[in-house]
Amino acid sequence: MDAYLLDTDMLAQLVERLRLEGEVIGPQIDRGVIAYGPLKSFEDLPQGWSELQGPGLYRLQRTGRPSRFAYRVAPTSWKPFLYPPKELLFRARKEGDSFTVQPAETSLEARVLFGLRPCELRALRVQERVLSKANYPPYQQRLQASWIVAVACVEPGENCFCADLDSGPEVRDDCDLKLVEWGDEPRYLAQAGSERGRALLRGLALPTASAEDQKEAQAALARARRQMGRSLDRRQTPDLLTRKHAHPAFDALAERCTACGNCTLVCPTCFCSNLEDHTSLDGREASRYRVWDSCFTLDFSYIHGGHARSKPSERYRQWMTHKLSSWQSQFDEAGCVGCGRCITWCPEGIDLTEEFRALTERAKESTIQYRELT
């Protein structure tokens, strides 16, 4: 595969070229975090910045280096750009005894999603598979209107464990372009992942990367693989729900989990939604929206008579076993990509990997003690 070596100016040139394809969305400093949004200029990229992430912890940090991709992941994933938090499905209008229904049209501006981390790219493909199996057309339509540019991770963070889920630190899924940034005076290795990506790179007259350059980039990624802050033993994930549903670790967890739903909001693969129906005040116009929902809310599992999952421990169990185990049965892959967001943004600092480890260990001493009669 053709590989090109870019310096900062050439990277800027690449971004300018991508602008011709559509609005470029990329990482930038926004209200105290590195977030994804429209890039007004190449200078918006978070040069010299990184962040500290830990359980319930996020702080911007200066790196003292000119790298632009030294951060890990933004609080909110790329999910909103393809699967908006709120989306109109149809409008209905009452006319006498009857009514009419008008399906919503998906807005399809061409966009360039610039700077997906490998775990985020995996999450995008995971959601793509979920939503195409569910026959939810707007997702596929938006994806087709988007360019996808991924950037490998050479500096994983404290909450990262993509290596254990085979989603990173190198780019492993389909995209248009993939980049690696490495070195104190950053250089960029650029490769195409699609036909249109190949054509675009060729058109820029970039210098070809030498075998030596490519080896250096590979070495940086191999180092990254050994620097994951968290780990997860996937051999323990099959049949998690049926094997471990009564494990006391879930009860212990319930004392900490407030069922706030942050983890599901920041999770890049969580797809659950609710359908909301609205009517105008005069009762003549109605509409339906799909809105993100969370399996941590009580009403999520409501059916007449009660709730299937009335306790927070049951809801955390549902979420965790779905991500790590049931998802595998549903879609032949994990529902977790190892991005660590749920750990960072849990107000209680609950660590998915630690809770999973607790489940794989034997329960602590029994709460029933026996003694022989004297």
């Binding site: 939810y136 009517t279 299937a308």
Partner: protein, 272 residues
């Protein structure tokens, strides 16, 4: 269904609203040309501005001129549906879900076991069996409800006796009731079917199904020969809203009808 309409209901004309026994009512609708369903499937019914509810189909699958839904008015949407009058419109998406696998019952005895309004999703199956009666050996309908006045489709229960063995029971008797009193599993105990050559289709409240399955298994019916129909919070019916998941299954897509041995590991997980 065509791709544009998956997220949008199609409008059907309401032919009639029928009061049923207990707190149930039926909507008789006019389906569009070419609409087909299999016994056990459901539709999402949309009441203008109020929302959708998953409702099983209760009519004869071999009649294309009308489609019937029997409904209990327990929520905002179903209560609104109850207020509709003939000539008004109902939004419909469907049919969804896996049907009762009747072809597996060919040449066998059939137990249709229903509790309460659980008879509604089984009625299309009964129609189909009656239409093809010679394909099956002895067929039993074992039906229980809370009280005699909660027994659904009382006139048909009489009529069906001509083609199949119909047994009814109630949890609580009332003045004038001379029929059986007791829970549905007792009806299973009383019948002389051959467990090795029997298929059971069960629908009712989950606890009732649990007790029935236990009794069936005590009698020697294998978990692979028992089918149950489950109910969960279905919103989208397509598998993207995630609400109806149970373990690895989307009840809307992988169910609502499940082979018991397949769903069994997840049925008894508390809060599963």
């Amino acid at each position: 269904m065509n791709p544009e309409s998956v997220l949008t209901p199609t409008l059907w004309k309401l032919l009639e609203v029928q009061e049923e026994t207990g707190d149930c009512f039926s909507l008789r609708l006019e389906p569009p040309e070419g609409y087909r369903f299999e016994p056990g499937q459901f539709n999402m019914l949309y009441a203008f501005g109020k929302g959708e509810a998953p409702i099983s189909i209760s009519s004869d699958p071999d009649r294309s001129d009308q489609l019937v839904h029997s409904i209990r008015a327990v929520g905002v949407v179903t209560q609104e549906l109850q207020r509709l009058r003939a000539g008004e419109q109902v939004g419909v998406r469907g049919p969804f879900g896996q049907p009762w696998p009747l072809e597996e019952a060919e040449g066998k005895e059939v137990l249709i076991i229903a509790g309460g309004i659980g008879l509604a999703p089984l009625r299309p199956l009964i129609y189909r069996i009656l239409a093809q009666r010679q394909r099956f050996k002895q067929v039993y309908l074992l039906y229980g409800a809370r009280t005699p006045k909660d027994l659904l489709y009382p006139d048909q229960l009489e009529l069906w006796q001509e083609g199949i063995e119909v047994r009814t029971t109630v949890d609580r008797s009332m003045a004038g009731w001379t029929g059986q009193v007791g829970v549905v599993p007792r009806l299973i105990t009383a019948e002389g079917f051959d467990p090795a050559n029997t298929l059971a289709f069960v629908c009712g409240p989950e606890v009732m199904m649990n007790f029935c399955v236990e009794e069936l298994q005590n009698r020697g019916v294998a978990g692979s020969s028992i089918f149950v129909s489950l109910e969960r919070n279905m919103k989208c019916a397509q598998g993207y809203c995630g609400h109806c998941q149970m373990g690895p299954y989307f009840i809307c897509r992988d169910g609502p009808v499940f082979r018991y041995e397949r769903i069994q590991p997840f049925l008894n997980i508390r809060g599963g």
